[in-house]
Amino acid sequence: MASTEEIRADLAEIVNEVAGVDADDVQLDKSFVDDLDVDSLSMVEVVVAAEEKFGVTIPDDEVKNLKTVGDAVAYIERAQG
């Protein structure tokens, strides 16, 4: 079972790979759209990469609720649980 920080760090690596955002900027309180400039297509790429990395499923309907990095980490934790 990965810790919140481990999930955040792995997710930060994905966001860096997809959108070029500095991994250190990918903190729990940051909004994907407003703070990290991740557009909707890049968000789909992040979600698909996260599904593969964390072995979870994130339905399309759920993606719009993942506004911040913290939202995504919490969803992944629950889905893994």
Partner: protein
Amino acid sequence: MPSTRVVVTGLGTTSPVGGDVASTWQAMLSGTSGVRRLTDEWVDQLPVKIGGRVAVEPSEVLERVKARRLDRSSQFAMVAAAQAWADAGLEGSGLEPERLAVAVASGIGGVTTLLANYDTLLEKGARRVSPLAVPMLMPNAPAANVSLAYGARAAVHAPTSACASGNEAIAMAIDLIRLGRADVVLAGGTEAAIHPLPMAAFANMMALSKTGSEEGGDPTTVSRPWDTGRDGFVLGEGGAVLVLESEEHARARGATIYAEVRGAGISNDAHDIAQPDPEGRGGTRAIKMALREGDVDPATVVHVNAHATSTPKGDIAEGLMLHAVLGEHVDRCVVTSTKSMTGHLLGGAGALEAVATVMALHDRVSPPTINLDDKDPAVDLDIPTSRRDLPNGDIVALNNSFGFGGANVAVAFGSV
């Protein structure tokens, strides 16, 4: 006769022989081949194992995050457009976006993106297919990405006519300026089709040469236009973009002018989907049309950058066209095929060869045709095997491209 004069004010390319115009042009003048044995794993399963990869990978030039959202064909277009834009001095020139158009073509489109995503679909399922696949693989992606980069809000076109596409884009750019739809056009072509599927397909239709792929073979000698040993083309990749501009606009902003674009001709053979008309009648009409549109005296045509891909039939047909159009003047015309060095860039070919044609006029020198050891007696043209100076005075050079589907496109450039 069209009244608006169109000029070339900027050039850019990334090609199998150089990462920019200066290195590409020097390599062409010195007769350097960019054809190599491919190092990709998949070549083992193919009968053709050689090609002309770009000399400088776009990843060395483009930002990583931007590059991963672009098909390789768009990457080449972006590299070439950035050079042409800078070369023309358009950065910070105050050009109105509504007066800037783009015509950037490809022959096949984002084929590597399409096929890589199909591989992903089969291996990992539909969920893993990239949400960027469609905007990456669409045939107008290179043109659209160039328009985004420079804010081009006039027409953005991606004409396709297979191997004539790049030249058709230039012909279209002339029209855009002469019709008053734009003052400046970023025009060119790009292709990134070195992938096992298109290579297998071209090989199976016997369009690609299978020579030089054997262990110890010499890939640099395989593209040999007009030589009796020619047996098919060599696939190259890369892109080129030219800045075309109304003369009035160029003069007003004090731009450096490389050459004038005198006229273009477009025709179709309606003969066969892949074979050229053996008598070259359609191509003859296209070349005549280009000269007529530009009010060019055939006696002033001293240089031709030929389509000549190193196929048995096409190379001969083009010779017939030049004789039909130039008559006795063909004897004073220096003909070259730079494909002998770069391989065939398909939709990028017409654009790369337009850059070479413009540089030939500008520097008044023709690049050689390499590997022409035993000229086909059916071809009666002056084809130097080392660089040859072109005459002083007002001179004209032609750039020819022909494509599957029967397309013939000729563009006439004039010295300034």
